[in-house]
């Protein structure tokens, strides 16, 4: 795009973008850092950091990094193996499997944690089933600590590796493989010398994302962690104990680690990816080497599908079992819809559900306005300015939810300009605000991909046919970027509807969300209510995923 002068409407968009990025990205970060550097007596320095570096914080940092490394390794192996095995399977099983993969991908982290809790707990579904089969009570499951956290993490993150690797496998030209064979290489040699090197960029990309997400993970360490300490939970406990300077020091530490990996990720994405696209010559799909489904393949897929579905199935099962059954052998209980009826009949139980939906909608609205504005400016203006906007608006992607919540609390516990001169802490709006900040990078990226895939001559054609800027945007540009924008908006909705990490720090009695309610029901051992809430959330998320796939397919192919 050429350098163009701004007109009034573009200055307005610039104002929106600057207001959002200064007020809700840079200002909270600034407050966080200055709180970390302030020792409480008005002196600035690193004394907080020195105090924060006690043995426990150090142990927490080591634990967080170790957990992330283990998660990356195990999810990576799982994802890669399945991508490779499934690549040679028939299409039908593959598409079935990849739609099942939507379950762990779209399930809110807290729901994943809760379903595993119900499935593998000492009184969980699996223990009950085994008891039923083996008729004795001595099998005791201990589902907590490291193993529990790692299992939940692998469940949540391996699909990422699967998707990255299988899309890379799809892009490999089968002629490359044939060339390798014809030059005398064996199957094994071809795998290590040709296929694997082409997969490495995808694997590295998925690893960086998983590492960041693991570092920022809160729900699993929070619920299964017990006495084990991790950076995210340390921040939470410090905040709950009222030690703001300790909380912000740890938060800054965690953010620095995350941002380093975030920068690595962005560098890597722009620089190192192999270009295996070809000019002109149509590529032969490497899956033409596909064999028929083998028996072992079928068994693996079935087992795996079961593994993907089982946690959700547990949740569904428990949601129809009367309250408090986790204490008894619930296989003998009869089914009842009472858990659901309670949510929909009693206002105080319905409120969290309503709150979550409202807050998610508001978050979608805010991200739509700020996200499309930023994407539009990035697509229009000259290079230097564009990368400034893009970098600032992308920052929240690299910041853990716990840190975002903490920085909002520190920034808006007093009347400031960006809080409309009222303290926002404890209000309703601060929660959707946190969701918007966490999700703005997603909406910006999806809108940008829409703008970039537009052929610039379409705009020129419209101008030359006499249409003004507004008409062109309304009739040509917006309809064409709509699918990408919608995709982003639905993702924002899904992420917000089950958000737990920042909500747990920001909610007050009247602004409980569904995720907070699930957590408090579990603390009270109300498994039925927790499961019913979880299923509702799961149903909403899956409905959105389904609708988005439909609408997006339709708007691409239908017109």
């Amino acid at each position: 795009m050429k350098k163009k002068k701004f007109d009034a409407s573009e200055y307005f968009l610039l104002f929106i973008v600057l207001f959002f990025s200064i007020g809700y990205i840079l200002f909270p970060l600034y407050t966080l850092v200055s709180s970390a550097l302030n020792d409480g007596n008005g002196n600035f320095g690193f004394s907080n950091f020195l105090n924060a570096f006690t043995k426990t914080t150090f142990q927490a940092a080591i634990n967080s990094i170790l957990l992330s490394l283990i998660t990356v390794a195990l999810s990576g192996i799982t994802g890669l193996v399945f991508a490779y095995i499934l690549h040679f399977q028939r299409i039908r099983t593959k598409s079935f499997f990849s739609s099942l993969l939507m379950i762990p991908l779209a399930t809110p982290p807290l729901i994943g944690v809760v379903s595993f809790l119900f499935l593998l707990n000492e009184k969980g579904l699996l223990a009950n089933l085994l008891e039923l089969v083996f008729k004795h009570n001595e099998l005791s499951f201990k589902f907590d600590g490291w193993s529990a956290i790692v299992i939940v993490h692998v469940y949540s993150f391996f699909p990422l590796f699967y998707l990255f690797t299988s899309s890379a496998l799809k892009r490999i030209d089968s002629n490359l493989i044939d060339a390798s064979y014809s030059l005398g290489a064996s199957k094994t040699l071809t795998f290590f010398k040709v296929i694997l090197p082409l997969l490495i960029p995808s694997v590295v990309g998925a690893s960086l994302i998983t590492f960041m997400a693991s570092m920022a993970s809160f729900s699993a360490p929070f619920i299964f962690g017990g006495s084990e300490r991790f950076l995210t939970t340390e921040i939470y406990f410090a905040k709950i104990n009222g030690d703001n300077s300790l909380a912000s020091s740890i938060a800054v530490l965690l953010t620095i680690i995350s941002i380093i990996f975030f920068i690595l990720l962005r560098r890597y994405r722009t620089g190192k990816l192999f270009d295996i696209r070809h000019k002109g010559v149509p590529r032969t799909d490497f899956s033409s080497h596909r064999s028929q489904t083998s028996i072992s393949g079928t068994i693996i897929i079935s087992l795996f599908s079961l593994m993907l579905i089982l946690p959700v199935f547990t949740l569904l099962y428990l949601s129809f079992i009367p309250e408090g059954s986790l204490m008894r052998n619930f296989l003998s209980e009869s089914f009842t819809p009472e858990n659901y009826l309670k949510i929909f009949s009693e206002p105080q139980f319905f409120e969290p559900f309503y709150n979550s939906l409202m807050m998610s909608l508001i978050a979608v609205l805010i991200t739509l306005i700020a996200g499309i504005s930023s994407a539009y400016l990035i697509a229009k203006v000259n290079t230097k300015f564009k990368s400034i906007i893009e970098n600032i608006v992308s920052i929240p992607y690299g910041i853990p939810g716990t840190v975002i919540a903490l920085s909002l609390i520190l920034s808006f516990n007093k009347p400031v300009l960006f809080g409309a001169f009222t303290p926002l802490v404890g209000t309703f709006i601060i929660i959707p605000l946190a969701y918007s900040i966490r999700n703005i990078p997603i909406l910006m990226q999806s809108s940008m991909s829409g703008f970039y895939s537009l052929d610039p001559s379409l705009e020129e054609a419209s101008f030359s046919l006499g249409a003004g800027k507004m008409t062109t945007f309304g009739k040509v540009i917006f309809p064409l970027i709509f699918p990408s924008v919608l995709n982003g908006a639905l993702l924002v909705f899904i992420n917000s509807a089950g958000e737990f990490v920042s909500t747990i720090l920001l909610y007050s009695y009247s602004t409980k969300t569904i995720s907070v309610e699930i957590y408090s029901q579990i603390r009270m051992y109300n498994t039925g209510a927790a499961a019913a809430y979880g299923m509702l959330l799961f149903a909403v998320v899956m409905a959105v995923v389904y609708v988005s796939r439909k609408t997006i397919d339709k708007s691409i192919t239908g017109i």
Binding site: S457, E460, F463, G466, A467
Partner: protein
């Protein structure tokens, strides 16, 4: 009065001159081509006429009105793009109707005009189809219909045939010429393909390195190139310096001049006295033979249609050169 007057147009990008004092006048109903190699500035000139770029210096007059700083919306100039630029969110009919809708024409007028223009481009039966389901040639016709229907003062073509394969290109070329003649709309056509420009145009301007090298009727430019660039680019002529010209053909020219011989004006002959060169390549292209003859390291090309009387040559034959014209053309 001319429909389009380009007066002293210059354009710089970051200090580099892309167009240097271009002057052109294009008459009403004329089909005018701007032809040149890639990077010569022809597309920039077209975009300046359209209002998608603005010149660093000079003025543009459309129908006598100074349009130099007018935005594209106000110019009433239609563009047919190389990649068609059809709106993928609209069907064929909606694409064609777009310009009229924007001008707030009545429903009946829109319907009447779009139907009649779709008939002209032979696409009435595809009115309700998605543009992506059309072939490249059909898409290009929709793109032309979308422009014609708005009755512009000027149609600009930006290499409209270059995305089509060879046979479709010939077909679409003839179609385009017919539609232009029928509509009578003044057209400016930009291309790097000299044969396309020759076949379509009433007049041609040859552009190189931001400067107009020559303008005139196709035959004028083909047979009387103004300089060595034009003769090479338009007719792929053979150029001989004064020494060679004297040695081979006994024609005396000045030292700073070059003799221009078209490929079809020179042919190899088997002769015992005249052994000037060696045939290094013979290509059969269907309607002609193309000979490459090397004379003391100088390459000479000869193209002979099948109906010319030719002896039986093969590669490596020593041959003489025979001129088939007595016209002597020279360029600086």
């Amino acid at each position: 009065m001319s429909d389009l007057k380009i007066h002293n147009i210059s354009k710089e990008f970051n200090g580099t001159a892309v167009l240097d004092k271009i002057n052109l006048e294009i008459n009403q109903g004329e089909f005018f081509s701007i032809v040149g190699p890639s990077g010569c500035g022809k597309t920039t000139l077209l975009r300046i006429i359209a209002g998608l770029e603005f010149p660093t210096d000079g003025r543009i007059f459309i129908k006598g009105i100074d349009s130099t700083s007018m935005p594209p919306q106000k110019r009433n100039v239609g563009i047919v793009f190389q990649n068609y630029a059809l709106f993928p969110n609209m069907n064929v009919m909606e694409n064609v109707a777009y310009g009229l809708k924007v001008k707030k024409e009545s429903r009946e007028t829109i319907l009447k005009k779009t139907s009649s223009v779709l008939e002209k481009v032979l696409l009435s039966h595809k009115a309700g189809e998605k543009v992506s389901s059309l072939s490249g040639g059909e898409q290009q016709r929709v793109s032309l219909a979308r422009v014609i229907v708005t009755e512009p003062d000027l149609i600009l073509f930006d290499e409209p045939l270059s995305n089509l394969d060879y046979s479709l290109r010939q077909e679409t070329r003839n179609e385009l010429k017919r539609l232009q003649r029928e509509s009578g709309i003044t057209s400016v056509y930009v291309t790097h393909d000299q044969s396309e420009a020759l076949a379509l145009s009433d007049r041609i301007a040859v552009l190189n390195q931001g400067k107009i090298q020559q303008q005139g009727k196709p035959e004028e430019i083909y047979f009387n190139p103004a300089n060595s660039f034009v003769s090479k680019f338009i007719s792929h002529s053979n150029l001989f310096d004064s020494v060679l010209s004297k040695k081979l053909f006994n024609i005396e020219i000045n030292n700073n001049q070059k003799l221009v011989i078209l490929q079809e004006e020179i042919k190899p002959v088997k002769s015992t006295e005249l052994k000037q060169g060696v045939i290094t390549e013979i290509l059969f292209t269907g309607y002609a033979y193309e000979f490459t003859i090397s004379v003391d390291g100088n390459i000479i090309k000869s193209m002979q249609p099948l109906n010319t009387v030719l002896e039986n040559f093969s590669k490596g034959n020593e041959v003489g050169l025979s001129l088939l014209t007595d016209k002597i053309r020279v360029v600086e």
